[in-house]
């Protein structure tokens, strides 16, 4: 443990040459919000996904989203212990034959960016806490069932286009863990608004005349951010972007006998953030006002850019907000 934390400290201090996570250059799942982050037995929570596609330049296309349901309290509470059961049920549903998943299977497969899931009545089974996993696949082509997929993720699924497997830039697979409690509750964080460059967003439309440092895009007045052509990111100007998280979002965390942790993750279509994740509330240090993200147009291109801020708590709660700007 000592070695791990020393390494983490060094890792936090040292960078690498990969593109930052805040720069969206492919299909990306940014969050999955559950209307009741702490679910009750025999309930049907709704899950809705926030995704972005950075592969084609500002052409919004709808990737295929497939959900897989029915894993409750796997061994050790570990998501990968769901694989054997899910694989068997999918095999039964598709008779073991590889095929594109384009229709729903009740209780097992649903489609679309929003879905509901069933929490079994016996999800607690006499224990104080239960866990349900809902898996999903987001694909720039077609999601298929395949009993023996190459480069297996653990689930018998593939993402292909014209018969070719798509890469991680166009295929995201993951899961949403739902904690099940009889009495404990958790609310999603609340975002009351945002600021950009220290200012609230403009409310005027193009017809009303855009303010200074704004330009028209369709009928909207969007702030203009100069394109940075410097060779080093540190030479680029930064513009602050901050979601206004309600202080009441910080709830007590009875399991850890402290307050919730809250953090915000920033990402951008066309551009990046200087530090992608910031603490909003820390159980030891409390509320952090300095949680804004610094938007940078390094390696960006002229045109619209979308900024995302996803606020999470450490108990499965999420909320998000997005904002468009023009890079010139």
């Amino acid at each position: 443990m000592k070695r791990v934390l020393f390494a983490l400290a060094m890792l936090a201090a040292c960078g690498n040459d990969f593109d930052p996570k805040s720069s969206i250059t492919g299909i990306r799942v940014l969050g999955v919000k559950v209307d009741t982050p702490y679910a009750k037995p025999a309930s049907k929570p709704t899950l809705s996904m926030l995704y972005a596609d950075g592969t084609s330049d500002r052409v919004v296309r709808d990737p295929k989203i497939v959900w897989f349901h029915g894993c409750t309290n796997p061994n050790g509470g570990l998501y990968h212990q769901c694989y054997p059961g899910l694989s068997q049920r999918l095999g039964q549903a598709f008779q073991g034959h590889a095929q594109i998943i384009d229709k729903e299977v009740p209780g097992l497969v649903t489609l679309g960016h929003t879905t509901t899931t069933d929490v079994p009545a016996d999800a607690l089974a006499g224990k104080p806490q239960g866990k349900v996993f809902v898996f999903f696949a987001v694909c720039g082509g077609d999601v298929s069932y395949d009993p023996n997929p190459p480069n297996s993720s653990g689930l018998p699924i593939r993402c292909t286009k014209n018969g070719e497997d798509l890469s991680a830039d166009e295929f995201v697979y993951g899961y949403t863990p739902l904690f099940v409690f009889d009495k404990l509750t958790n609310a999603n964080p609340v975002i009351d608004g945002l600021t950009f460059g220290g200012n609230a967003p403009a409310t005027k439309t193009c017809a009303e005349g855009c303010p200074a440092d704004h330009a028209c895009s369709g009928s909207r007045c969007l702030p203009v951010v100069p394109l940075c052509t410097a060779s080093s990111e540190t030479d680029c100007p930064q513009v602050a972007f901050k979601p206004l998280v309600a202080r009441a979002s910080v709830e007590d965390d009875p399991l850890n006998q402290s307050q919730e942790s809250l953090w915000v993750e920033y990402a951008a279509l066309n551009g990046r953030f200087d530090s992608g994740t910031r603490v909003v509330n820390d159980p030891s240090h409390g509320w952090n006002d300095d949680s804004e993200g610094k938007f940078v147009t390094f390696k960006a291109h002229p045109g619209e850019a979308t900024l995302f801020a996803v606020v999470r708590d450490n108990r499965g709660g999420q909320a998000w907000i997005s904002f468009d700007v023009i890079v010139q």
Partner: protein
């Protein structure tokens, strides 16, 4: 022709004060070379044994008939009372001369050798000359004076030119001469009687001996000088100290303080020995013969301590100046040690100087600064003190460096800092006993404030604190009650602290261990010694842990910590582990040594007794130079579960101890007087390993694991002489494990098939010394990420690696060259040394780990440290 037996006694005063107790029943520490004071002060006086009673040998009939003469060189073991306990032939003369000389020499009586006035055991070479005198008319008129003639040597064959020889008679009249280029000297016309001969040569300790001059005879002697001490405590590292173990490796003080790339750290020198793998990065782990780091135990004078290196592996927790000897057992160790399956490192702290003078040392380099002082305790007769301390000062410069590198995402609130300290008082109640009390300990601290969470771990943000430390109050008593009986005991009480805090994660473990170790050793007969002992540990632990259950090695990542739910343990517990052992050391013949021992350990967390058996054998196939020795060993070793494995929240009940069975066989071969070759093969069978398996209730522990380690170690060594030391060590090994019997064996996390170390250091003269060390080690194993990118956890917004087969990929091999240069200036009252220890001279950044991008779709090797110079200055008196 009248033939009479003539004999001329030659005494070759060759004192081999190695701590290899070749005579039975001798305590290692009594023979341990002591720290040397500075050169121009009176050195701890070393006096060779002097023959008091000579016995004529029977002249062999065959040789007399053939008018043959001959010289037999014998190796004589002389005990502390002056009796010859063993006589063997080093250079044979044949024709019955050998047997006659051995029979006569065994009846010799000597005035025993002394060091600092205290009688000690010794081994000398003795030339017994058989000469036939001619007819009476050929005999010259007898003279009334004698001749003292000798040779001054160093090492095996080196001679010392221009050394000053002072021959002093009882009336203190001095005759002086100088040695020639071949080291020979001669003083004639000496009246019969006893003389003190003193040899002084630049760069060597003063040597003194008492010699008898007999009328009409020539007394011939050979003296071997020892190079002056570097001021570092003379430290000996042994593979395993005789007489209980199979393999013995010994390093001189000069070797330990001069190995390049170790900054003169004795404990880091262990990493250059065969059987010790290279630990990844700055982990500071000790990986011995394919075992996990937790399988190797560390002791300081028999007291267990929790760590051996400060974090980052910058230096060890006990500085070289405080160490007299290191006992390193890579496996098959004797019954005195238990509760470990891997290896044992037992650091022996230095014994105090008895020269009545105050000594001190101060050293500073790029990483830390240290001071040491020792000498007589004021106002307390017969007591000495030793105090030493070290503190890193890396915190003075690394904080701003890390802050700048992090670009503002972190802030070092308390930079990494470590210190260690030792303070002892010692007395010798009698000439053969020693009592010491003292306190020693170590502390490491680091604090970082993360403004944003660590990538992939949103719960780890804010304050990140790390602290480890330990302290021990220790009392130690040793007494060689008689030649046959020795008693040793030590007791220690102290604390161990481990504190890790990161966001909502907490790991605070504070323990107070009480340990005792006692042994009685009785030499029942010439061929049998019995050792009986106890080894008891009692620990009170206070535990506060808020953490998710740790992932199993190699299993798929369980996801970010904040999505797992924290397990909470806030309690105290006591762990009691008594042990006892007995051993028989047998030497039924001169060439054969057998050790058979048994040990029983109890642990109240398993509530079981673990009985184990240990055996070893050494057989000297060829007794004279070049010696050949064959050796073998077998034993069972038990290691109780780790505390977290039996913890009421994190662990499981009903566990047994892990078990290992060690087998080893090998040989040692002298090639020249300075070069020897040692080769050893070993196999460790591992069973009942505690393993974590997923169950419906969550991960639980079971004794279902098994595995093996097999290997071969080779050491070709040039033993230190006045110019050079060095060795080539190579280890070939394989280490595999499995969780349950129905699964196949896979490579163990710490498997490193090839470990090659070649090092050497050469004294150029005029205080200059240069050395180099080259290492080539197989890359470390890691678990690859497979799949198309990682698995996304929407609750944390992080990706997890989809793990492939555990530890199925290997990083590129590690190789590195380190160079060290030393320069020493000697002044009248003190000495100044400067050194440059250059790590990674050709700047090859071997990979230490693998890093990935945020979604594990790309992978790159993470490089190790670049070229690093370490400059140091040291002053001592």
């Amino acid at each position: 022709m009248q033939r009479t037996m003539g004999r001329i006694g030659f005494g070759l005063a060759l004192l081999l004060l190695s701590t290899a107790a070749r005579a039975q029943g001798l305590a290692d520490d009594r023979d341990a070379p002591k720290d040397k004071p500075k050169a121009d002060e009176k050195a701890e006086e070393l006096v060779a044994p002097a023959l008091e009673k000579f016995v004529d040998a029977d002249y062999p009939a065959e040789a007399e008939q053939q008018a043959l003469e001959g010289n037999v060189v014998l190796v004589l073991d002389i005990d502390a009372s002056g009796h010859v306990t063993n006589a063997s032939v080093s250079q044979s003369a044949g024709h019955g001369f050998d047997e006659a000389a051995v029979a006569a020499a065994k009846q010799f009586t000597f005035k025993p050798a002394t060091r600092g006035g205290k009688p000690i055991a010794a081994r000398i070479l003795y030339k017994y000359a058989f000469t036939l005198k001619g007819a009476p008319e050929e005999v010259e008129e007898a003279a009334t004076t004698g001749v003292l003639r000798g040779t001054v040597r160093v090492g095996a064959d080196g001679a010392i030119d221009n050394a000053t020889i002072l021959v002093t008679d009882a009336s203190r009249k001095i005759v002086s001469t100088k040695t020639k280029a071949d080291g020979t000297w001669e003083v004639k016309d000496l009246a019969p009687g006893n003389y003190t001969v003193s040899v002084q040569a630049e760069g060597y300790d003063v040597f003194k001996a008492n010699e008898d001059v007999v009328a009409n005879q020539s007394t011939e002697v050979v003296y071997r000088l020892k190079p002056k001490s570097d001021g570092v405590a003379e430290v000996v590292v042994r593979g395993e100290p005789p007489p209980r173990e199979v393999t013995r490796r010994e390093l001189s003080r000069r070797e330990l303080s001069r190995i390049p790339g170790t900054n003169g750290d004795a404990l880091k020198a262990i990493q250059s020995l065969p059987g010790v793998a290279r630990a990844p990065g700055l982990s500071g782990l000790l990986i011995v013969r394919g075992s996990a780091p937790a399988d190797t135990q560390i002791f300081v004078d028999g007291t267990p301590v929790p760590i051996v290196y400060h974090f980052g592996s910058f230096s060890s927790v006990v500085p070289t100046e405080a160490i007299e000897k290191l006992n390193f057992y890579p496996g098959n160790f004797g019954a005195q040690y238990g509760r470990a399956m891997g290896g044992i490192v037992d650091v022996k702290l230095r014994e105090q100087n008895t020269d009545g003078k105050l000594h001190g040392m101060a050293q500073v380099d790029l990483i830390d600064a240290r001071v040491m002082a020792n000498g007589p305790l004021p106002f307390a007769k017969n007591w000495t003190f030793f105090v030493a301390g070290r503190r890193s000062w890396i915190d003075a410069w690394i904080g701003p460096v890390l802050d700048k590198a992090a670009g503002g995402s972190t802030s070092i609130t308390s930079a990494p800092v470590y210190y260690d300290y030792q303070a002892f008082l010692e007395t010798k109640p009698t000439a053969s006993s020693r009592f010491r009390i003292g306190y020693f300990g170590s502390d490491d601290k680091l604090k970082v404030f993360l403004k944003g969470p660590v990538e992939g771990e949103p719960a780890i943000a804010g304050d990140l604190g790390l602290h480890t430390g330990f302290g021990r109050f220790q009392a130690l008593y040793e007494n060689q009650i008689s030649d046959a009986v020795r008693v040793r005991a030590n007791v220690a009480y102290g604390y161990d602290a481990t504190n890790l805090n990161a966001g909502s994660l907490k790991l605070n473990i504070d323990t107070n261990p009480l340990t005792s170790r006692g042994e009685v050793s009785v030499k029942a007969t010439d061929w049998l010694t019995v050792n009986v002992g106890e080894d008891v540990n009692y620990t009170h632990a206070k535990v506060e842990v808020h953490a998710p259950p740790p992932p199993r090695p190699g299993e798929a990542s369980p996801g970010p910590i904040n999505t797992q739910g924290l397990m909470v343990q806030d309690s105290s517990r006591d762990i009691f582990r008594p042990g006892m052992y007995g051993e028989l050391e047998l030497t039924p013949t001169e060439r054969l040594r057998l050790v058979a021992g048994g040990r029983a350990d109890y642990s109240d967390d398993t509530q079981k007794w673990d009985p184990s058996i240990r055996t070893s054998a050494r057989y000297t196939i060829v007794n004279e130079f070049p010696k050949t020795i064959a050796k073998a060993g077998w034993g069972t070793f038990y290691q109780p579960p780790q505390p977290q494995e039996t913890d009421s929240v994190f662990g499981s009940a009903g566990l047994r101890s892990n078990k290992a069975t060690h087998y080893s066989v090998g040989a040692e071969q002298e090639i020249t007087r300075h070069v020897d070759l040692s080769i050893e093969g070993y196999y460790k069978d591992l069973t009942s390993l505690v393993t974590r398996l997923p169950t419906a209730q969550g991960n639980e522990y079971f004794n279902t694991g098994s595995g093996y380690v097999a290997g071969m170690e080779l050491l070709l060594r040039y033993k230190a002489d006045e110019h050079f030391f060095g060795w080539i060590a190579y280890t070939l090994s394989r280490s595999e494990r499995r969780d349950t019997d129905d699964k196949g064996l896979t490579l163990f996390q710490y498997d490193q098939p090839h470990i090659l170390t070649a090092l050497g250091s050469y004294k150029l003269g005029k205080g200059w010394e240069i050395g180099a060390r080259f290492r080539y080690v197989s890359g470390s194993l890691y678990t690859p990420c497979t799949g198309i990118g990682g698995f996304y956890d929407s609750a944390s917004g992080s990706y997890s690696c989809i793990s492939g087969t555990a530890f199925s990929q290997r990083l590129s091999a590690f190789h590195q060259l380190d160079v060290r240069v030393d320069k020493t200036w000697e002044f009248r009252a003190w000495k100044l040394s400067a050194y440059l220890d250059l790590y990674n001279v050709y700047n090859h950044q071997s990979p230490d780990d693998v890093s990935h991008n945020f979604n594990f779709s790309r992978e790159v090797e993470q490089k190790g440290l670049p070229i690093i110079p370490s400059l140091g200055l040291r002053a001592e008196f």
